[in-house]
Symmetry: none
Subunit: 199 residues, 4 copies
Amino acid sequence: MKNAIREPRQKRSIEKKNKIIEASYKLFSEVGYYGTNTAEIAKCAGVSTGIVYGYFQDKRDILISVLDIYIRNVFDPILKILDNLRAPLNFELLVPQIVDAVIKTHKKNAKIHEALHSLTHTDEAVNKEFISLEDRITLQIAEKLKKIGVEIENPFEKIHLAMDIVQSFSHEYVFDKHDYIDYIVMRDMVCRTIINLFN
Amino acid sequence: MKNAIREPRQKRSIEKKNKIIEASYKLFSEVGYYGTNTAEIAKCAGVSTGIVYGYFQDKRDILISVLDIYIRNVFDPILKILDNLRAPLNFELLVPQIVDAVIKTHKKNAKIHEALHSLTHTDEAVNKEFISLEDRITLQIAEKLKKIGVEIENPFEKIHLAMDIVQSFSHEYVFDKHDYIDYIVMRDMVCRTIINLFN
Amino acid sequence: MKNAIREPRQKRSIEKKNKIIEASYKLFSEVGYYGTNTAEIAKCAGVSTGIVYGYFQDKRDILISVLDIYIRNVFDPILKILDNLRAPLNFELLVPQIVDAVIKTHKKNAKIHEALHSLTHTDEAVNKEFISLEDRITLQIAEKLKKIGVEIENPFEKIHLAMDIVQSFSHEYVFDKHDYIDYIVMRDMVCRTIINLFN
Amino acid sequence: MKNAIREPRQKRSIEKKNKIIEASYKLFSEVGYYGTNTAEIAKCAGVSTGIVYGYFQDKRDILISVLDIYIRNVFDPILKILDNLRAPLNFELLVPQIVDAVIKTHKKNAKIHEALHSLTHTDEAVNKEFISLEDRITLQIAEKLKKIGVEIENPFEKIHLAMDIVQSFSHEYVFDKHDYIDYIVMRDMVCRTIINLFN
DNA sequence: TATGAATGAGTTTTCATTCAT
DNA sequence: TATGAATGAAAACTCATTCAT
């Protein structure tokens, strides 16, 4: 039972563990996983290097915790939206609301999203977590729609496609990379496209 | 004149440089940039570790060369399609062809795409190269459409959105991550969506 | 008065100190001194890491306590045998008894013996303790023999040699390392050899 | 094929690898395996820390190489003695010669012997190597005796016991630990004991 | 040009010991 | 006395880059 990881129960400890996760979140966002070292994490969290390994097995274990936080940050707003969904659905009103919500979430999480998503290629656990996130979003939306009596042909494919579109658009929108694009126009275009998809 | 990088003129030298790029391409695809070290690159290319620094400033410089190749691999098929474009356009026929072409390209390049794209977050030059690629694709398509007399409202936004959709779908298609998705159904959905966008 | 080590007087304290020693004894036996860390000792003893330093100066100080116990475990059976020694000695009967007793002791202590003895090379105090143990065994046996009127030429050398032989044989016997050796035959050989030494 | 270990072919490289082994041999002898760190090994060998890992997988791999050298240093003199053995054997002359030879070998190797032997407890490979050494010595002696026509009852047990006696005595002799022992007297006693064993 | 051995700063990780509670 | 979280120095090991040949 070497290297037993403290599962902190006391408030102070939990706070310290969270500080380490927050520091890592921040640093991974800014300079990526490979650009961050454990000494910097410790320093940024205001703790010693040693205690980092009191709370986490290794550097990758911190990554997983950061990933957890990220996943929650992304998934929770979606759940909230779904909770408030009532029949009959007015897609004309609903879709823009959702698009704006996703943009808002993405604005807050874009950098850590990039940092974490860039690891899907080389870290199977991270990859799985992202896939699972997509699965959960798709399936929960499908379930909800069915529950409130909205009949859709090929619901999984439609929802998933819509999600992909909103996601990649949000990314474009947030990073505002191309000066020949009018992102307001593009936003409306995205909404229209998705509305058409569901009608 | 320290660190003067040879611009190889002799055939043998050019071949050697290409071998290094190919080896890197392969290794970056398989285990990513950070998972590859220069000794492995040299070994895989069949050259010495030292000579790598005869052809490249540093490891990142190899990355840039690999990126160039990748960009060309992705952009060339698009150029070819554009070259063959003649008015009047039949979107019903054209869009599926393009979608399938992008899928085909993506099948060949998906892994290196991930490896390289994951670096956009931390490497500004890589980031710019990806943005520029999108710019060039969007603008060239727009130009071509104009040239052959196809009038479209908000062409940049439409083309860019279409590109985003096709790209993210191709990624889904190639990695085939979700078992509840019928990717054939989804492909048709993507085509339909894009056709609607342009009509 | 920094680092003042408590000499535990209360019963509970003495018990706690003993628990730490026992835990260390066990762990040193299993994975050696360097393979054991103080956190494990504390955990195995059911105490906090901090209090270990209430009873011991440092990790090495625990080692010394473990060594003390070991020395006692080895020396006491010998004392008991010596106490029961009465003239005239029948070496034919006595030697096998002693050999079997040493084997028995060794069976119980072989692993901790190895763990501790392996430190004689780098820890002078441990080394001295082992030398002193041999000294005391040799001298006490010599004294006893003299006391009961057994005259032996070069008693120290003989006793010491006999002790060495019995010890190294016990080690062989306990670990049973060589399959081409019949350890029963070897045991009789050892007894015979020692009997001859003293006749 | 990460961390490929150089198998040095060039003379300079072999020399460097040997230097590292020699430095380790020296340091392990003086302060033991756990008292030596790789930086010190490198410094003592006059090389960089990095190149140590060019020649060896890890620190333990150096240990194994040191062990190999030690084994050879101990085994070769025995082989030489065996080679020169001719019937009829005069044990009265032969045994003292062997005892002195073993003492001589031990004088040269006692410290590294202790350092390496202390690891048998925690490193199975080291343990096996020591057992194998004893096996080879015992079996080769037995074989040789048979070859030159010397008939012995229970040869393996006798030879092994004799080896144990000589070994533990050599150890005593070299470290000269007990001032009440006359090691010259003890040496004769050892010789006598072994001669009796074989007659 | 080419080799591949060599460098050494930098990284992750461990653990005896201390200290706030 | 007792706790166990916290410290930080030190360890093993890696790898981009250089350099003697």
